[in-house]
C-alpha cells in the first residue's frame, strides 16, 4: 500500500524541500523587508535624533547623524515654554486640553454607539435600518460639507468653542463606524441568550448591561483604541469647535512649529512633534493586534 503510493511520485524525499536558511531567495526577501522597515523607521529616528541635539550641532551636521552631545533641553522647552504665537507656555497646555477633550469624547461616543448598535441588532423597529443606512452614508460625506451646519447647531445650543461642543462633535463623527462595529459584534452573540433573558423577564437595559456588555469587552477595547487615536490625532474639529483656549495638542503643535516669528528651533519642534505622537504610539505598541483589528474594522467597515 505504502509502496504503491510512493511509486506514483518521482524518486526522492517526500514533503516540501527543507528551506536552506541562506538561499539567495531568502536573503532577497529579508533584504527587501529590512530596507523597507528602515525606510518606515527613518522619520521616527530623525525626529528622536534631532530632538536630542543642540541647535549648533543641527546647523553643522546632517539630520541622519546621531546626536554627539545628548541634551534634553529641547524636550523641556517644548513641553514647558515653546511659543505658539499667542503665548509661550509650551505644549503642556495643549496636552491637558487634549486629555480634557479625549476622556469625555471617548466615553460618551462609545456609550451612545454601543447602545445604538445593541438596539439595531436586537430591538429593530420600523425605519431603524433606514436611519442606520443614512448614518453609514454619513461616514463618507466629506467633513467640509458638514462643518458649517455643525457650527450653527453648536451656536444654537450655546456650545460653540467649548469642551462640551467638541465632545459632541467627536461623538457625532465617531457614531457611524462605532455603531457599525457594535452592531456587528452584538449580532454575532447567539440570539438564544437574548431570548432566554427575555423569558426571564430582563428588559432593554438589563440585557444590555448584564449580558451584552460583559460578553463584548474585546470590542469595547477595539472601539476605545479607534476613538483614542482618532480624537487625539484630530486637527480639523479641534481648530474649529474647541475654541482658542481649548486648542488640542495637534493644533498647538502646528502653531509652535509653523509660527513665523523668531528663529526656528528645529530640535524643539521635533521634541514637540514626538511628544504629540506619544499617546497614539503608546496605544499602538501596547495594544498590538487589537489596534490592527480596530483599524481594519474601522477601515473595512468605514
Amino acid at each position: 500500500m505504502a509502496e504503491g503510493a510512493l511509486a506514483g511520485f518521482a524518486p526522492g524525499p517526500l514533503g516540501p524541500r527543507p528551506k536552506r536558511p541562506f538561499a539567495p531567495k531568502t536573503i532577497m526577501l529579508y533584504g527587501v523587508l529590512v530596507v523597507a522597515a528602515l525606510y518606515y523607521l527613518m522619520p521616527l529616528y530623525v525626529m528622536v535624533a534631532t530632538s536630542l541635539k543642540g541647535m549648533p550641532e543641527i546647523r553643522l551636521g546632517n539630520i541622519f547623524a546621531p546626536p554627539l552631545e545628548i541634551t534634553f533641553a529641547p524636550w523641556v522647552k517644548a513641553w514647558d515654554s515653546a511659543c505658539t504665537g499667542l503665548y509661550c507656555e509650551g505644549l503642556k497646555v495643549g496636552f491637558w486640553n487634549s486629555v480634557k477633550i479625549l476622556v469625555p469624547g471617548v466615553i460618551i461616543s462609545i456609550a451612545i454607539a454601543s447602545v445604538s448598535g445593541y438596539a439595531l441588532s436586537y430591538w429593530r423597529f420600523r425605519g431603524s435600518e433606514v436611519f442606520f443606512t443614512i448614518l453609514l452614508f454619513g461616514a463618507f460625506i466629506p467633513y467640509q460639507v458638514l462643518i458649517y451646519p455643525i457650527v450653527i447647531l453648536l451656536r444654537e445650543l450655546g456650545m460653540f468653542g467649548s469642551l462640551p461642543g467638541i465632545t459632541l462633535v467627536h461623538t457625532i463623527f465617531g457614531m457611524p463606524i462605532l455603531t457599525l462595529l457594535f452592531r456587528n459584534y452584538f449580532a454575532s452573540i447567539p440570539v438564544e441568550l437574548f431570548k432566554a433573558a427575555r423569558v426571564d423577564g430582563a428588559a432593554f437595559w438589563g440585557i444590555f448591561l448584564k449580558i451584552m456588555v460583559p460578553m463584548s469587552l474585546p470590542i469595547f477595547v477595539v472601539a476605545t483604541i479607534i476613538q483614542v487615536t482618532g480624537i487625539w490625532n484630530d486637527f480639523l474639529f479641534g481648530v474649529i469647535y474647541a475654541g482658542t483656549k481649548n486648542f488640542p495638542m495637534t493644533v498647538q503643535l502646528n502653531n509652535i512649529v509653523n509660527s513665523t516669528q523668531g528663529v526656528k528651533e528645529y530640535n524643539v519642534n521635533m521634541a514637540a512633534t514626538i511628544l504629540t505622537g506619544l499617546v497614539p504610539l503608546v496605544v499602538y505598541f501596547v495594544s498590538g493586534k487589537l489596534f490592527v483589528r480596530g483599524m481594519a474594522a474601522g477601515a473595512v467597515k468605514g
Binding site: L33, W123, L135, Q144, I147, D234, N269, G277, Y284, A296
Partner: protein
Amino acid sequence: MESNIADKAVPAAPGGPPPDWLGRQWWGLRRNLVAKIATLPMVFTALVVFLGGTLWSIFYSFTKSKSLPVEKFVGFAQYERLFNTKRWIVSLENIAIFGICSLVFSLVIGFLLAALLDQKIRFENTFRTIFLYPFALSFIITGLVWQWILNPEFGIQQVVRSFGFEEFVFNPLRDPEIVIYGVLIAGLWQGSGLVMVLMLAGLRGIEEDIWKAARVDGIPAWKTYLIIVIPMMRPVFVTTLVLIAAGIVKVFDLVVAQTAGGPGIASEVPAKYVYDYLFARGNLGQGLAASTVMLLSVLVVLIPWMYLEFGSRRQQKHG
C-alpha cells in the same frame, strides 16, 4: 468573514414569522419604546446632522451668503466663480495627482509588503508593527516630520550634497512644480501600512489548496499572484480603493502642516479651499459651493461601489 457577521444580523428570525419583540406590529411600539428612545442620538445624528447638514450646505451654496447665511439666491453663480478661480483649479489638479498617485502607489506598496510578509517569514509581527506605526500618528505629525526631512538646508538634499554631489537637487517643498509629490511621499509613508494590513488579511483569506494546486500545475509564484490570487482578492481591492478614495478627499491637515498650501498656492487642496472660504475669508456661499463639489465627487465613487456591494450580496444569497 466579516460580512457573514453582518448578514447574520439581517434575517432576525430564522424560519417562521417574526416574534413580536421585533416590533413589526404597531402595537409593539410601546414595548419597544425604550429602544427607540435609546437610538434617538443615532437618529438625530443621521437625520439632523448628516442629512440635514448636507441639505443645508447644498441649499446655501446657491446663495450669496458672505460671513452669515442669507437667503438671497444667485443660481449657479458661486459655482461659476468657483471654476473660474485659479486656486480651485490648482486644488483640483493637486488632489487628482495626489489621489491617483496615492491609489496606485499605496496599493502597489501595500500589496508587495503584504505578499512579502505572507512568505512564512520570521519576525513577521515586528515587520508588520514597523510598517503600520505611522498610521497611528496624526497627519500633523506626518506633515511636520517630512517638512523637516525634506528641508533643503538640513534634510536629504543637504545630506546627499555632503557626500560630494554638490549639484544634487531634491527640494520638493519649495518647488511649486513638484510640491504635491513632497506631500505624496509623506502621505504614502503614513497610509501604506494600513493597505498592507488589509492586503495581508486578504491574502490570508486565500485557501492553501489554491496555492498547492498552482504549485502542482507548475505555475510560478509571481504568475499565481497575478492571474489567480489578485483576481480572487477583488473585493479586498475594491474596498481598499473606496477607503483610500474617501480618505483622499479629506486631505487637509497634512497640507496645512507640511506646506500650508505653499509655495504660493502650489499645494492647495479642495478641503483647505473650503475651510479658508468658510472661516478665514467669510465667504460662505463660495465655500459651500466648493464643499458641494467635493460631495459630488465622493458620490461618483460611492454609488457604483454600493451597487457592487449590494449586487454581490444578492448573489451570495442565491448561491
